[in-house]
Structures are given as structure tokens and as C-alpha cells.
Amino acid sequence: MALPAYADRWERIWHWVYLTFCTLVFLFLLLPVLVVVPLSFNAEPYFSFTEGMLTLDPAAYSLRWYRDILQNGMADPTQLFSGWSWIGDAWANSQWIHAAKNSIVIAIGATILSTLLGTVAALGLSQSILPGRRLIMALLISPMIVPIIVTSTSLYFLFSEIGLANTYLGLIVAHAILGTPFVVITVTSTLSGFDRSLIRAGQSLGASPLVVFQRVIMPLILPGILSGALFAFGTSFDEVVAVIFLADYDQRTIPRQMWSGLREQISPTILAVATILVAMSILLLTVVELLRRRSERLRGLTS
């Protein structure tokens, strides 16, 4: 982005204004996400930096809100970290651990369901001879477009009738619906760059359709499938509206727990949870990015 040598003074000024503006936007994007990290170590129950935190006084920082994640709901919170019995107590009773277990079970179930259905559908969608392809694609993508409140309330009425309300299966189905568009999009876009002559090459060398799928197609579209699966996982893990309508306390997930925390008694424990989630999203982002690069390399888009 270097300025050309013939740039005049106004162009130079404009160039710096432009760069400053972009820097500010980058900060606007990133700072709010990062601000929760230091605040989660606050020793006081405040949502602002204390004097001590600003002067980097070690006493102003603490892990109490992280301990609270475990303690909240425990039968005997005073026993935390003494002996071994607290582990069973926290595993069974801690509200946040209860929510985390639910989140993981539901997200994994939804991911498996949406990845299976989405990948198979994408294989069919990528064939241009499919009749009504545009319409089918629009239908399959629609859960991403329909407002979540409409989806959730509709499912609420259906699930109440067929007995899926307040069940894990119901939530898995709901989150799978929301996740499939991502899988369909990522896998079809991987397949659109797919060189079909590779399939013919495999067939002409005597491979059966199954072998061609396993040895030729699968390795090439695997990055697309995995990043679709990660999107589906992320969607489910972050979803709260459907959980509000379709779950009761037993199926409460982490975002649902945060939601009620924010609405009822807001405490810095939420910041500690948020920090852990930010760390998780950094991990998720890294994996998706690595997958994307691998996919581009495999498809020969970059060297």
C-alpha cells in the first residue's frame, strides 16, 4: 500500500487519514472483545478498572471469579480445592459446569447431524443437472436467513405437540437446522473448485465409485467439511434464542446461563466465563484458518 512517488501533499495527508481511520476501526473491532480479559481478574465485584489494577498492584487482581465458576451451585463451596471430594460436587452441582456439559453434548450432537446431512446434500447440489437446484439451495440456506425468533417460536409450537420440547433431542434438532446452511455452503464452495477430471481419472484407472469417493473426493473436500462442521459447532455453542424457547433448566447451555446472568444478577463471573470463551474462539479461529489454507493448497489456488 505504499504511496506512489508522484503523490502530492493532499494525497499524502489523505493517505494518513485513511490509515488512521482503518486503525481505529480495527481497534473498535478488537478492543471490546479483549477488554473483558483483564477485568475478569478483578479482585473487586466491579465492571471497571480499579486504581489498583491500573497501577498493576498484584493485590488488585485475583482468580476469585474463576473459582466462582466452579463454586456457584456447589453443595459445599467452602471445600473447593481441599481434598478430592469437591471435584465430584462441582461436577454434579456447579451451575456453569452443568451448562458446559449441556453445551458440549448439544453442540456435538448438532454438529454430527448437520455435517452428515449437509455434506451429503452438498454432494448432490454440486451436480449441475440437479432439477430445481436454485430453489433447493435457497430452501436449504433459509434457516440462516429466517429470523431466529420466528424459527424458535415455530419450533416451540411444533415441539410442544410432538413431545420434543425441553429435551436434548429437540435442542440437537433445532441447532442442527441452524447449522446445516453453513455446512452446505462450505462444502459446495469446496466442491465448486473441485476438478471433476480427477474423478474420471480414478474411474479410468479401475476404481469403483466407493473407492473414488474414499480416495479421491473425500481427501479433497475434507477441509471444507471440517470447516463447515466447525461453523455448525460454533453456531450451536453460541446459540441462545432457541434454547430460551425450547429448553428448561435441565438443558441450560452456557449462553443461556450467561443470558440469565446478564438479565438477573450480573456478576464478574460472567467476565471470567467470557474470557474462557474468547480463548476458545481464538482456538477455533486458528483451526478454521489452518483448514482454509490447507484447502486452498490442495485445490492449487495458492502455491
Binding site: 473491532l29 436454485r134 450467561m258
Partner: protein, 415 residues
């Protein structure tokens, strides 16, 4: 693979047949692959949405709860005193309702049509066992309100299971006592202004995202890949961070004792007493939603700008255009596809937003989705919620249709 040599017209016909057959087989194969997800979406997504939308015009609950009344009142022309059969019907239905303990929903439904009807119904239901023929005298003695023709007109309106009243209510209109369609009184009009507010806030958010996102996408698209990949993290990290985490962050930043206010007090822009109201109002909603939706603007813009060749701008410059003219006349038009895709995407997402406005919107920053949730969970006026949802859905599908005409969904660059 076998090689067939065409020797006679007979053979060429059979090849044609073979080709048609193989084409049909491939079509079928593709359909079979798509079928499981298509059926899943049709039954678990499209079907329930249809069912909910049906609630916006079809409401048989009242007729089901008051069968005798509904049958008798069909005879009544709508003016004058209703026939004795209708009075008897109400009395017998009320006895049944009281026994099943189901007078509440009927009272609530009637109260929407005519204020004051709730207590009338509940009172009548409580005393229904004591009513004797002639029912007209007995009921008027119990509560003179039964003598008001309007309550009977309301019952008559409710007795038809197919009704436009939810859609009318959703646009602040109603059927009045005389049966004509009129606007709600000024002080009861909420939905039209709520729809307008939703559109306005979504529009402002979209505009903010465009203003903030366009330069950034331009920068990312023109930097060497090595650097832009690193800067892309700034865009993708918020994108991957939980919505609730980002909303929490904005509450932490903007609340009265929050980081921004403390910073302003510390730097003597504000005093402790004049801390600004930055959140739980419209400002908070717009700020937080802009932050949350900005990546959805930057990513499509970036993927379009990546494909814009720099030679056109260079050509324009060499033909004498200054930087401004070259940018606005040559560069910007080449990015219109990205602008359209980004704006439509952000707008579609913003119009249906629920979580962020509910948490940071306060009174003035809530959107139509929040009202739908309120009617589903609190007021239990499901028909009205369905009508509001149908209007929202129609608007969004129209936008999505435009989006589909203009571009492909791949443009978000998820792959």
C-alpha cells in the same frame, strides 16, 4: 468404458436412449443425495413455520371453548338483543369452563376486543352455576354490562375461527363495534412505530457498518497477503467470538460505572454526576449491533475487492483523473456487488435481531423480535405474535430474494 461406433440410424436411436437414461440416472442420484436434508428442512423447519403462520389467521380456541354460544350467536344479525338461545349458550358454556377451570383464556381473548370484558367473564363464570332461565334477566341482574350490544358483537367476531384481527392488530388497526376497519386510538398504536424503528435502527446500523467497513475491506484487499492475513484476525476474532460475550463486553464498556464513562470522568470530560447514558437505550443498541455485524459487511466487501484489478484505477490516473475521481468513478462502481451483498446481509440480520436489543436496548432500543418474544412468552397473544412474525418474515424473504438475484451466498467467504 465402451466405445460405440454408430453405423445405422437404429444405433443412433439407441445411443440417444442410453444417454437419456444415464442422464435420468444421474439426476435421480443427485436428488437422492439431496433428499435427506431437504426432507429434514421441510418437516422440521418449513412445516413448523407454516404452522405458526397459520396461527396468524386461524384461531379456533374461542369457538372450541364456547361451542353452544358460537352455534347460537350465528343466528343473531349483529344488532338488537341477541336471542335467548345465545344467553343460554353463554350460561351453559360458562358452567363448563368453570368446571374445567378454563375461563381465563376466554376472558383474556374477549378483553382484547373490549376492555372490561375480563372481569365480566370471570365474574359470570364464577356465578354461572346459580344462573337459571330466563338467562337474559339472570345475567343482566348479575352484571348490567351484558346488556351492552358491544360485548355480543365481540363474541360474534371471535366465534369465527378464520380472522383478520391479528394482522389488523399488527398494523395498529381493528374492527370496531360497527364492523368497519379503523385505526387504533393514538395512545394504543405501538406496532407501526415499532416496525419503523426496527427499519430505522437496521438502516443506521447498515450505514455505520458500510462507512466503517468499506475502507477496512479496501485496505485488507490491497495489502500484501502476508500482512492482510494477520490483520484479518482483527475481523475474524470478533466474528468467532460468542455473541453474548460481545454483548457483555459492551455492557461492561458502556454502563454508567463502566470503562468508557470512567475514562471520560478521569479525563475530566464528564464529572461523576454527569456520567452519560450510553447503554440501555437506542445508542447502546446501535453501537453494539454495529460492532457485532461489522464482520458481515467486511467479508463480502473484501472478497469482491480482491477481484478488482488495480489497472483500471491506474489507467484512470494516467488519463488525468485525480485520486478522488479515479476512486469514486472507477474503483467504487467495481465494488457495487460487494456493497449490495454486505448491506443486504447486515440489514437482513439486523432486522431480525433479538439478543442484543433485549440486553442493551432498554425501552427505546428494542426491536420487533423482542415484541414477538413478549407476545409468545408473557402476554400469550400467539396470534398477534404470529402476525408480527409473518410481516417480519415476508420483509426478510423479499430482501433475501433480492440478495439471491444479485449475488451468490458464497460471497460471505465462509469457505
Amino acid at each position: 468404458m465402451t466405445v460405440t461406433v454408430v453405423t445405422s440410424p437404429d444405433d443412433s436411436r439407441s445411443i440417444k436412449r442410453e444417454l437419456t437414461r444415464s442422464l435420468r440416472r444421474r439426476k435421480l442420484q443427485a436428488l437422492v443425495l439431496v433428499a435427506p436434508l431437504l426432507l429434514f428442512i421441510l418437516f422440521m423447519f418449513i412445516y413448523p413455520i407454516g404452522g405458526m403462520l397459520l396461527r396468524s389467521v386461524y384461531s379456533p380456541d374461542f369457538a372450541r371453548a364456547m361451542p353452544a354460544t358460537v352455534a347460537a350467536i350465528a343466528e343473531w344479525p349483529g344488532s338488537g338483543t341477541p336471542p335467548e338461545a345465545a344467553w343460554a349458550g353463554v350460561a351453559s358454556d360458562m358452567v363448563a369452563l368453570q368446571q374445567r377451570n378454563e375461563a381465563g383464556p376466554v376472558a383474556a381473548a374477549l378483553n382484547v376486543e373490549m376492555s372490561g370484558a375480563r372481569s365480566l367473564v370471570l365474574k359470570t363464570a364464577r356465578n354461572a352455576g346459580k344462573l337459571t332461565a330466563p338467562y337474559r334477566e339472570a345475567m343482566v341482574t348479575l352484571d348490567p354490562m351484558w346488556n351492552d350490544a358491544r360485548i355480543w358483537q365481540a363474541i360474534k367476531r371471535l366465534s369465527s375461527p378464520v380472522t383478520p384481527r391479528f394482522y389488523l392488530a399488527a398494523v395498529d388497526m381493528k374492527v370496531d363495534e360497527a364492523g368497519s376497519i379503523v385505526s387504533q386510538p393514538e395512545d394504543r398504536q405501538i406496532y407501526r412505530s415499532l416496525f419503523l424503528r426496527t427499519l430505522l435502527i437496521s438502516g443506521v446500523v447498515t450505514l455505520c457498518c458500510l462507512i466503517l467497513g468499506y475502507p477496512v475491506a479496501h485496505l485488507l484487499a490491497n495489502l500484501p497477503l502476508r500482512i492482510s492475513n494477520i490483520l484479518m484476525i482483527f475481523v475474524l476474532l470478533p466474528f468467532w467470538t460468542s455473541l453474548l460475550v460481545r454483548t457483555t463486553a459492551w455492557i461492561v464498556l458502556l454502563q454508567k460505572q463502566g470503562v468508557v464513562n470512567s475514562l471520560l470522568v478521569w479525563s475530566h470530560v464528564l464529572t461523576d454526576e454527569t456520567r452519560a447514558e450510553l447503554i440501555f437505550n437506542r445508542t447502546g443498541t446501535i453501537l453494539a449491533m454495529t460492532h457485532i455485524l461489522l464482520p458481515f459487511m467486511i467479508l463480502p466487501l473484501y472478497s469482491v475487492m480482491k477481484t478488482v484489478s488495480p489497472v483500471y484505477v491506474k489507467a484512470a490516473r494516467s488519463l488525468g483523473a485525480n485520486q478522488f475521481v479515479a476512486f469514486t468513478k472507477v474503483y467504487v462502481p467495481q465494488t457495487f456487488a460487494g456493497v449490495a451483498a454486505g448491506c443486504l446481509l447486515v440489514f437482513i440480520l439486523a432486522v431480525g435481531y433479538y439478543i442484543t436489543p433485549a440486553l442493551v436496548g432498554g425501552e427505546s432500543g428494542t426491536l420487533i423480535s423482542n415484541m414477538i418474544a413478549y407476545h409468545i412468552q408473557k402476554s400469550l397473544n400467539w396470534g398477534l405474535a404470529a402476525a408480527l412474525g409473518a410481516i417480519l418474515l415476508t420483509a426478510i424473504l423479499a430482501l433475501y430474494w433480492t440478495f439471491n438475484r444479485l449475488t451468490k451466498i458464497d460471497i460471505i467467504g465462509l469457505g
